[in-house]
Amino acid sequence: MKLSTKTRATTLSVALASTLALAACGASNETAETASGGGDTSSGSELSGTLVGAGSSAQQAAMQGWTAGYSSVQPGVTVNYDPVGSGGGREQFLAGGTDFAGSDAYLDEEELTQAEERCGTAGAFELVNYIAPIAVVYNLEGVDELNLPPAVIAGIFNQQITNWNDPAIAEANPDATLPDLPITPVNRSDESGTTENFTEYLAAAGGDAWPHEPSGDWPVAGGEAAQGTSGVVSAVAAGNGTIGYADLSQAGDLGVANVGVGEEFVAPSAEAAAAVVENSEQVDDADRPEYSYAIDLARDTTESGNYPIVLVSYHIGCVEYEDQETVDLVKDFLTYVASEEGQQAAADAAGSAPISEGLREQNMAAIDAITVAG
């Protein structure tokens, strides 16, 4: 037996190390950003620091647009956003782990009490900065235009209406030639804000046709289920006679149904989605802090030109922070987010609907009120 142990061991460790060794040169896109400082600074002052947020994953794509756009305005600021989900975002914010939260739902009573502990007596602000229309998408050969009243949508997704030639569908679409084809409803298999908002709509507008409670988990058994928005879209595209729900921006070439509102049928659009948010009532509760602009969406609206299946997402933060730096960062970032430019960045990145002028004015009032505690 021949042993040259030391040399062998060294060569071996070198070999092992080199398998893991990779040129550590930094991500080109990240270094480029910090280097290209200067730019046009609309807010006048150069800020630097890190802003930490967490929450809704529905906002994630928009947040990517915002952070990308914001980095050209304030190259010294890093905004980290953790898409942990709305509940997690609120939890982490209230525990003091993050500077702001993104959430698809507003704070409930218990959370408002926690918010007073977190933020002081001024409490928290809640701003709608993200509006996304959810489209009912379908794939049905020969049918380019489809009108669906709320009860019919509920019936289809509750699997009570099972064929495309059902009289209830035919009644709403007198001009279409509906084939004798079974309907395959497609839903999300993972828990999601999209499902939560869609079931909320069905529960509010579907009447008796939708006996289930709103929930982030799809409540009906037996449909085709797919993972993520893109999964739903590709499942709908793959079959014939399929119908599903997805962010409008992802609908692609699929047919998009017009949803019955009152007497007319409304196609999803940015304007129609912003309109329903504008017309929704603020949560009527004297206990809510001054700058809490929580709204109860008018899912069962009959107003002309309103599209009721939308997902709104809030930004939640403190009206009073401990230190000036955080105040400046939160203020500046949210000003950008609410601005026309910021809303356009989100629209480009996530296909969301820009907030209306009225909503912007309201939000700006809250943002201007953010100060240092004490």
Partner: protein, 362 residues
């Protein structure tokens, strides 16, 4: 050719079986079954060409028709027993062929789709500020390297020491218990390992916690038993004469182990560790629930989320953003990169055992 060597290797017995019977009058020449099977496959190809090509149906037709053809021909010319033997040969060979279909199809598909974005940008940029086209997996690759390195740092000392204990020191019930539970531990589902790491950290840091180190701990639960098993096998192979010679020179036991036993077994240990790394580097589920995902590069496993290649691939596929094509392309490239990493580690492992093994005639 017909003469057997006096000491056949253990398994050559099988291939020698058919030869004495080759002299049988009615036995078929060697090429006939192959040709008959090929004819069956040809018919299957024709059939599936007529009904519209589908790989799965084609494979089913080909195997069934080819096997039946061989059986019938052999049954007619050679009789029942030989026909059954041929039938089994066909079935067994076909089984191996069937197992190769997914391997080839998978590699083909991943390479075909992944090559699209296998470019410089993929390797040197992250997803920070990327919308739509472009972007890469630099941050995910770094995350995978950091977390895997941490896992290796945690697992190898523990695994190696435990293997040394089992081979050199342990006896009785504790040894049996550790051996048994190490085996059982290799079967822990990866998602359970992830839940364990989460449950551990949640008690300390509160809910919603995501850290790189949590992922490393979860992966260590999966990697330690693999390291123990492979190191144990190798240490057992170190001849006792070496140990005894060392003791005879007055070398203490621990010096004997570190200076004689381990260097002798280092090639095998290296192979085992490399294969263990290959086993954990592609794990997705535990990282999904402990490390999460982020768009920016994070080098610090003790602070916040990190991106890792498998989780990156998963989220790029399931939450691609607008428009989806670009993210899905990135997902496939990440999958391709994962396969390359795993296959590369496997090759490295084989090379280690080939080039660093002690040169000894057994």
């Amino acid at each position: 050719m017909s003469v057997q060597t006096p000491t056949p290797a253990p398994t050559t017995g099988a291939s020698a079986v058919s030869r004495p019977q080759q002299q049988h009058d009615r036995s078929l020449p060697r090429w006939v079954p192959l040709a008959v099977f090929a004819a069956g496959v040809a018919v299957a190809a024709l059939l599936s060409a007529l009904t519209g090509f589908n790989v799965v149906l084609f494979v089913v037709y080909a195997v069934v028709l080819g096997t039946v053809a061989v059986y019938v021909v052999s049954r007619v010319t050679e009789g029942r027993r030989r026909a059954t033997d041929r039938l089994v040969t066909s079935v067994v060979t076909a089984a191996f062929g069937i197992a190769m279909v997914p391997l080839v199809a998978l590699v083909w598909e991943v390479v075909g789709r992944g090559i699209e974005r296998f470019d410089g940008e993929f390797f040197n940029s992250s997803l920070q500020g990327i919308i739509g086209e472009g972007g890469g997996a630099y941050h995910a690759l770094m995350g995978t390297v950091i977390i895997t390195a941490l896992t290796t740092l945690l697992s190898v000392p523990i695994g190696l020491l435990a293997a040394i204990y089992l081979v050199e020191y342990a006896r009785g019930r504790l040894k049996r218990a550790i051996t048994f539970f190490v085996d059982v531990m290799t079967g822990i589902p990866s998602i359970v390992a992830g839940l364990f790491a989460y449950a551990l950290f949640v008690l300390i840091f509160g809910p919603g916690i995501r850290l790189g180190i949590m992922g490393a701990i979860a992966l260590s639960v999966l990697m330690i038993p693999v390291v123990v098993r492979s190191a144990e096998e190798v240490l057992k192979l170190v001849p006792n004469e070496l140990r005894e010679a060392s003791y005879a020179l007055g070398v203490p036991k621990w010096r004997t182990i570190t200076k004689v036993v381990i260097p002798t077994a280092i090639a095998g240990i290296g192979t085992g560790v490399t294969l263990a790394i290959a086993r954990v580097i592609g794990e997705t589920a535990p990282l999904l629930i402990t490390v999460g995902i982020t768009n920016a590069t994070n080098f610090d496993p003790f602070d916040g989320r990190m991106a890792t290649l498998p989780v990156y691939a998963y989220y790029q596929l399931t939450q691609p953003g607008v428009p989806p094509e670009f993210a899905i392309d990135r997902a496939w490239t990440a999958a391709l990169l994962l396969i390359i990493l795993v296959m590369g580690l496997n090759v490295v492992a084989r090379l280690i055992s080939r080039f660093f093994a002690p040169k000894t005639g057994r």
